[in-house]
Symmetry: C2
Subunit: 199 residues, 2 copies
């Protein structure tokens, strides 16, 4: 005999497909959801579905937006000579939280990964080159993740962009602020030493 | 300036209301959800909303069900002389996973909690007494949680039910199977000693 009521199982199955939600948490959440007032569940379901439908990619940079252009591209006060290249829209959000960067973004929508069959034509590199020829960009800041795929993607783009006479920079790697040297891995420590500056 | 697109914020806000999902996880989930194909998000939203609408309480025991009676109450092969009293429908699911118990259930829908203003009239104790007078129940097994509220509720129900000439039992407390004595708290160890049996 099945222990769970079928609709609860259906909810749990759908939730368990989300990242970081295992089968046990999904079931616990499903039990919570059927115990909520109907209007709260309605609000949740509507937020998910309407939210998904409302969000698409910025025509210029590939960031998420509700309109034609994202809030960064639509902002006339942003510097249009700096372009920060990131993998995902959520990286844009992370950088924007800092409030220091005033330039524009270019979202690749992925990183090069020969193992997973992701080549240069599968991410928005062609669109990046088109922007470099049509926009007054002086500097490309490569802010892909400091992992193997992010480094490979940064190196690949640097080789393409440098010959165009555009300045190409890479974000610094090192020991995170507020962390403890003792807990930093060797690669991070090596990068921190390599990138040392005069004080 | 706001860093997140508004629909993503709406999704994150709704998700952060669920138990065990903090603001950071909610935002990470929201970014994941808008990156999914529309039909997958549609399936998720429909499962939540249709699932919530489909589930209600069993007219007899208070368990979750899609129909009039839950699968346990509707099963003619269950013993109708044993009644296991639990707090929530998910406790029924936990006990059913064991596959050993063949009697019926009574779901209280809560436990007595004077601190939170939950009195005997707020949980399904009256319905329990009605069942005891109309059904051929010989034994009431109190399976509320082994916490303060669960114990108080069990004691309260035992006092009401014993005078009716029905056998009243409480599930055993002790060291969980497969766990280590070293990690058991003192109250559990005391209960385990108190409940010791001849071998």
């Amino acid at each position: 005999m099945n222990q769970q009521v079928e609709p609860i199982q259906r909810i749990a199955l759908q939730l368990s497909r989300l990242p970081g939600i295992g089968q046990k948490s999904a079931l616990r959440l499903a039990y919570h959801i059927v115990s909520l007032p109907e209007d709260q569940v309605h609000d949740l379901a509507v937020a998910l579905w309407e939210g998904r439908k409302a969000v698409h990619f910025c025509a210029r940079c590939g960031n998420y937006t509700e309109g034609e252009l994202c809030s960064v591209c639509a902002d006339p006060e942003r510097r249009n000579d700096q372009l920060c290249v990131v993998r995902d829209p959520k990286d844009v959000a992370a950088l924007e939280r800092m409030r220091d960067y005033r330039g524009l973004y270019h979202v690749l929508g992925g990183t090069l990964s020969p193992m997973n069959g992701v080549g240069p034509e599968d991410i928005r590199i062609r669109e990046l080159l088109e922007r470099l020829s049509s926009e007054p960009i002086q500097e490309v800041i490569l802010a892909t993740n400091p992992d193997i795929e992010g480094e490979a993607t940064a190196t690949y783009i640097a080789r393409l962009v440098k010959p165009l006479g555009v300045r190409v920079t890479r974000i610094a790697h090192g020991v995170p602020v507020g962390s403890d040297l003792e807990y930093a891995d060797e690669v991070t420590l090596a990068k921190a030493l390599e990138g040392r500056r005069e004080v």
